[in-house]
Structures are given as C-alpha cells and as structure tokens.
C-alpha cells in the first residue's frame, strides 16, 4: 500500500477530476488554505488556465455564479476557503442551490461543490473558525461530506464532483499533513457509507472530520488501559448511514459522539437524537456528546483550546459512559 499525505491525496483527486472531465472548473481559493503546501494548487492553475478562476472577494457573487454554471452544464468546485465565509454566500447556497431541484419539480440539477475549511485551526478567532455543517444539515437539499483521512478525501471528492446535487465539502486544515494509505487507482467512495476506523468492543466513539484523527489517538492511549474503543466515522451527514452506526452501538451499548460544531443543535446533538430514537434499549449508559462549547471562539491559544473537543474531555466522556 502507498502512503501519502492528505493534501497530496486531495490534489491527486483534483488532478484526476480535472483531467477526466473538462466541465469541472475551480472557482476561487487554493483548496489548501494558507498551508505551506499551497504551491501545489499553482501547478493546477498553470495547467488549466481557463478552468481555474480567481474571482473578486464576492462570496455571494461567486457562489451564485457557480450555482448558475452548474445549472447550465458545468461542474464547478467553489472554494469558500474559511468555513465562516459561507455566511457571506449563504443566500445562494442555502436558498438558491439547495432549493432549485425541489422547487423546479425535479427538473433543474445543480452539480456544484462548495468546499470549505471548518473548525478550530489555531488562532482563527471568532470569524475564521466556524463549523457551519450543523446549520447546513438543517437546510434540506444539500449533501454534506466530511473526510477524515487521505483515502477518504480522495474518494469522497470524486463522488462529490460526480454528484448531481449541491454538495458541501467540509474539510479541516489540521488534516492536511495527516498521512495514510491511498491505493493507486482507488475507487470513489459512495456517499452514505460510514466507516469503522478502528475496531473495538467496549465503547462506540462516533467522530467526524479532524475529530476522527483525535479520537483514534485517544483510542490508542486507552488501549493501554484495556479499554477497547471502536471509532466510527459517518463520513457524510447527508446522506446519513444509520445502519453502520447502530451495528456498532448494538455491539458496545455505550456511545460518545465527538464533533467540532457547537453543542446546541449541533451535529452530535442530531446523531444522539437518532441513536436514542432508534436504539434507546441498546444503550447501557446515557450517551455523551463532546462538542465545541456554545460560545464564540476566542483567539488566545489556551482560550481556543478550552472550548473545543479536547482530548481530556473526550477521555472523560468515554470513562463516564463506561462507568
């Protein structure tokens, strides 16, 4: 098996997608944020000068432009870059792109991908740290994808671009240097297929995006204490794979959900509700959520660290459900 970095897998996907389909256009950004690897994007921009566009700082304008272009035969991938900036383009994403297929009576397809980096990034402060996926999950008509590994980012990006629906591709800058196995000529990963990232028997830890990596580290630490944690990554919120989650829940009877959206009406809240509705009788203890506290994100490192799903909070929650 070939081991490469997350950012390399992501660019391999973009390269293969651009080569295979001339209707794919990249609008805005670098798809690598301000990471040291952003030169990789420049190679792509040089190769496809007519298909890699740098618009003005007009999220509302270019989110709409990409949505309209998707209606008329292109498959644009828009880089909203910092997740918080989706609020600037919100009307076009939430009120136009998401509704077009339904309100046209199933006639107008909108194969656009909105790519963004969510979450606590280290010094992002209140206006560059949002995780808007919970709000977007509450807005029907959007597919929502959260990769957590090099193999997943490649396979899920291919499926996102091939999808005829507007898709939110929720990425995390802390994942860019994560290394992992990515087979050559790997197949796209279908939406709606959760993935068991680590087998375990004592507790089910459901995690999304970068939190998957953090939970895998936590699981390793706890293994030395003879606690066997199973880490399950839903990978897509819409569509959502309940069956894989419940198979794990039925096995362990103990659940911790770790996610970076804020606690109230967050991703963990919705997953918790679904588990309780469909499998309350399978639970041996009350489930626990580890989310970002319901406060704006502060800048200073200890303040930012305090509100997120820290390792110690995850461990505490796992111990609590095992009691």
């Amino acid at each position: 098996m070939r081991e490469i970095a997350y950012y390399e897998a992501k660019f391999e996907a973009l390269n293969e997608i651009m080569a295979a389909d001339p209707t794919v256009h990249l609008i805005n950004g670098t798809f690598l944020s301000l990471s040291p690897h952003r030169h990789v994007y420049q190679e792509l921009a040089n190769k496809y000068r007519d298909r890699v566009m740098s618009p003005p700082i007009s999220e509302l304008g270019f989110c709409g432009l990409a949505t309209g272009a998707a209606m008329a035969g292109l498959r644009p991938i828009v880089d909203i870059s910092t997740g918080s900036f989706i609020f600037e383009g919100w009307p076009q994403v939430a009120n136009e792109a998401a509704n077009a297929f339904s309100m046209s009576g199933g006639q107008t397809r909108v194969p656009v991908v909105f790519h963004l980096f969510h979450g606590l990034r280290g010094g992002g402060a209140a206006q560059h740290s949002a995780s808007p996926q919970a709000m977007l999950w509450n807005n029907p008509g959007l597919e929502i994808v959260l990769p957590s590994s090099p193999r997943d980012v490649k396979g899920l990006l291919k499926t996102a671009v091939a999808s005829d629906n507007p898709t939110i591709f929720v990425d995390h800058v802390q994942l860019l240097d994560v290394k992992g196995d990515v087979p050559e000529n790997d197949s796209p990963i279908p939406f709606g297929l959760a993935h068991v990232k680590r087998k375990g028997s004592d507790v089910t830890v459901i995690a999304t995006s970068y939190m998957v990596q953090r939970c895998l580290q936590v699981a390793e630490r706890l293994a030395s204490e003879r606690i066997s944690a199973e880490v399950v990554d839903p990978r897509t919120l819409v569509p959502f794979d309940m069956a894989t989650l419940m198979t794990s829940v039925e096995k362990t009877g103990r659940v911790v959900i770790v996610d970076e959206t804020h606690q109230s009406c967050g991703v963990a809240a919705e997953i918790a509700a679904r588990i309780v509705e469909s499998g309350f009788d399978k639970l041996k203890a009350p489930l626990r959520r580890v989310s970002t506290l319901d406060v704006p994100v502060s800048y200073s490192p200890p303040l930012e660290d305090y509100i997120g799903p820290r390792e110690d909070r995850i461990i505490e929650a796992i111990r609590a459900v095992l009691r």
């Binding site: 007519d50 432009l65 309100m103 999808s163």
Partner: protein
C-alpha cells in the same frame, strides 16, 4: 412607435401581450375566491417590455426571472394551462405544484430557476453566462428583475463579476415605478436607492447601461436587439433599465382588477372608473400597442378584436384545465428533493 418588424410578427407580439393580460386578469378572481393562496405578482403594465424584448432571443438562450415571472414565461411561449395549474398548486403544473407562482420554471424555454428573492437570480445569471462562455455554445443569458433587486448586495457583486469576465449576459431591469408609485414616494425615483439614475450602478462597474421607455415597444425591441447583438459579438454584459408606469391594480397589498381589459378601451375609456382612467388612457402598454397597430394600418380594429377573442377563449380553457387538475399527493412533498 412600433418595432420595425413584419406585420405577421407584430400580430404575434400583439397576441402574446393579450395572452399575458388576460391570463393575469383571470388570476385575480381565482385568488379572491380562494382557489389558490399565497402571495402573487402580476405583469400587467409591462407587456410592451417583456414581449418585444424576449422576441430578440434565440431558442437556446437562458432566462432568469423573479416572483413577477408569469409575463416572461408567457411571452416566451409557455403553455397557459400548465402555468395556471402550477400557480394553483396542481399536479399538472410545470413543476408539479412544487414551485407555484414564485418559482415556475420551464427548462425547455430556457428558464432553469426562478427565484423569489429579488436579486437571487442576478449571480445565477452570471453563472449560466459563464458556463455558456466556457462551453462555447453561443448561448446568452437574459436576467429580468425589478428596480428593487438592485438594492441587494448580490446585484453589485454579480455586475462586477460579469464585467470583469466579460460574460454574455443582458441585465434587463424593469422599473415599474416611473412616476413614483409602489414603494417609491417621490416622483421618478425610487426612494430607496442613492444611485440615481439606476444605471449609475452598472456604469460604476463599466457595464454599458441605458434607460429606455418600457411602454414603447419599438424602442424596447431596437434597444434589446442591439444589446443582444453586442453580447453575441463578445462585448460582455449589457444593462437596460426599462421604465413603465405601475398598474393601478397593484397599488393595493393584493392585486385587484379595476377594469377588465378589452381592446375597445384603446379608443374609448369612458367606461373605466375615473380614478384609474388616466392609466388606461396613456400608460397601458397593450392599449398603446394596438392603437399604434391600427394607426400604422398594420391591423384593423376587427382583426385585433378577433385575436383577443381567441386569446380569451384560450385563457378560459387554461383556467378550466387548471381548476380541474388534481392536487399532488401529499406525500410527494417528501420526495424528489435530490437528483
């Protein structure tokens, strides 16, 4: 002034204006009787803009319109039966009742998405234009919106993008507040835009813009056909503000028909209620158009009355069809929201 077009074409434009007028007037009693609910917006008073303007387009071109879309769809040849059924929320409507008056689309006529957010379509129109340019398919996009749409931030952002990337798009702003009716409180100017005239806004982004009389079908046709030609030559976006006088029936919260239109009103408005008589005498674009047809000897009053008679029958059939069409099954609401 009539458009410089063959007689047959002029009579076809006349027919389309009648279709819009009688279609729209027939909706008012249906709503009053509760046959359909929700808010709705009529195109009465703007027929001499939409009909000649859209006749300048090719069959493959894209169009975007807003909550005030019925007239644009009908001008482009939409089936009044399916449009009426959609407005009534019936299963035989263009969108199977999922869109309604706000959101009717007819992809086969170039209408892919109809937004009821006033400026929602302006960025989208730059998108279909961007796609057409990338795919080199020669299609242009026409974006039809009201003066209020320019008040939303989407408008300047989209104008800037269209101008920077020389996108093949025509922004056709239909300002139905020429004499300050509607939201505006002072004469000839919207009370809510500091940019005046409205064409100052596109001009700031180097989009060529002009203001025309939207009641004058000849000016509309000449201006739009020239603008379309420039766009097809690759000159980038164009902006036209067509000014019309707001139909008195839309001055209340809900449309109300002060006077059912009949072509005879072109020559005699004595039967029209006093307070709206002036609009029918001098501002009604349909009546202006048919007076010009007769004055230019392109049609007789009898020929026009005959066209109108046939249109009235067609609209009566459309209403009958729509009222008879069943509602969709309730559970359809939870289906088909993903491709």
């Amino acid at each position: 002034m009539l458009p410089k077009l063959p007689r047959e074409t002029l009579l076809d434009l006349c027919r389309r204006m009648f279709v819009i007028r009688h279609f729209e007037e027939s909706l008012v009693p249906l709503h009053d009787k509760g046959v359909f609910g929700g808010h709705y917006h009529l195109y009465i008073g703007q027929e001499a803009t939409g009909v000649p303007a859209l006749s300048c387009l090719g069959g493959d071109d894209y169009l975007f319109t807003t909550h005030r879309n019925h007239g644009h769809l009908l001008a482009r040849g939409a089936d009044p039966k399916k449009l009426c059924a959609e407005i009534l929320g019936r299963v035989d409507g263009y969108n199977k009742g999922k869109g309604g008056s706000f959101h009717t689309v007819v992809p086969s006529l170039g209408f892919l998405h109809t937004s009821a957010v006033v400026a929602g379509i302006i960025p989208l129109a730059t998108g279909t234009a961007y796609a057409a340019k990338a795919l080199k398919n020669g299609r242009i996009t026409v974006c039809l919106f009201g003066d209020g749409a320019l008040e939303e931030g989407a408008a300047p952002e989209a104008l800037n993008l269209a101008s920077l990337w020389k996108l093949p798009v025509l922004f056709l702003c239909e300002n139905n507040g020429k004499y300050g009716a509607g939201r505006a409180t002072s004469a000839a100017q919207s009370s809510t835009m500091a940019a005046f005239p409205l064409t100052d806004l596109p001009k700031a982004y180097k989009v060529p813009a002009q203001q025309i009389d939207g009641l004058d079908s000849g000016t509309v046709h000449a201006t739009i056909s020239q603008a379309v030609e420039k766009i097809r030559r690759g000159e980038g976006p164009q902006f036209v503000e067509a000014q019309t006088v707001r139909w008195p029936g839309s001055e209340t919260n809900w449309p109300s028909v002060a006077q059912r239109t009949d072509s005879s009103l072109a020559w005699d408005v004595s039967g029209v209620p006093e307070k709206v008589r002036e609009w029918y005498r001098s501002c009604d674009p349909l009546l202006i158009f048919i007076r010009e047809l007769v004055d230019a000897k392109q049609a007789t009053k009898e020929e026009i009355a005959d066209i109108e008679r046939k249109v009235k029958a067609e609209i009566a059939d459309a209403v009958e069809f729509a009222v008879a069409s069943p509602y969709p099954k309730p559970e359809e609401a939870a289906k088909e929201y993903f491709a």
